[in-house]
Amino acid sequence: MSDADEPLILSDLISRVLDKGVVLSGDVVISIADIDLIKLELRLLLSGIETTKRESDVSLLPDRARGA
């Protein structure tokens, strides 16, 4: 599995474990704040990948294009 698939796999894991599976107790305690936290972690992961991509793109440009 390539690194590019990580966000897809993580997103699948989170939706599977949080949204599926047997519910016995009727009071599954996951607050909205916690779900927001997960979204935040996902966003961070995705933006981390974007940043890495941008940086690697920039490093391919000639010096003058980078304003050097």
């Binding site: 897809l8 796999i9 993580l10 699948d12 474990v17 599926k20 519910v23 016995l24 107790s25």
Partner: protein, 196 residues
Amino acid sequence: MSPTYLYCLTAHAAPDPPPATVGLDGAAVRRLGDAWVSDVDSPSVSATVDRIRAHDHVVATALGTGSTPLPARFGQTFASDDECVAVLSAKQATMSAGLARVAGMVEMTVILRVELDTSSGTAYLTSLARREHAARDVKARLGDCVRESAERAKDDVVTLSHLVDRGAVAIYRERLEGLEAKVLGPRAPYSFGPPE
């Protein structure tokens, strides 16, 4: 007394958790009746990526024993072992039917990415049709090696979940060879719980 956290339900004759099985926040996983549980510090468990991974790891360990478990949804705690056992007993018939449904099976998942083009109404409808066609292609390829299926589409991603005999996983993968998609599994049957 610590609250009890539930990971999954297993068949009556299923093996116990291997001794080193670790769950949420490093807690030791143990068997309670036909359930796999651990202690947790608080009755309200916050969902973090690490805890979600830990929950899934325990369920995957149960699947690895050779007997297919019914995964529990994340975040279910009980005040004590006794309360957990009482709730399980009250729902025993439903849970037994659920375990019978998945016995000898695993869940396989195909993730398709079809970009939805929102530049115009026609483009959008065309891309929706393309997405549908891709899902139909998977169904046609798999044919009779799938016992049950569930589909979920969100934005550009279509997730197709399939209940497959343990012995048919190799054929399943073979039939999807060359397909532009992610094939994940075998995993515990999160998408196929007790019959409604």
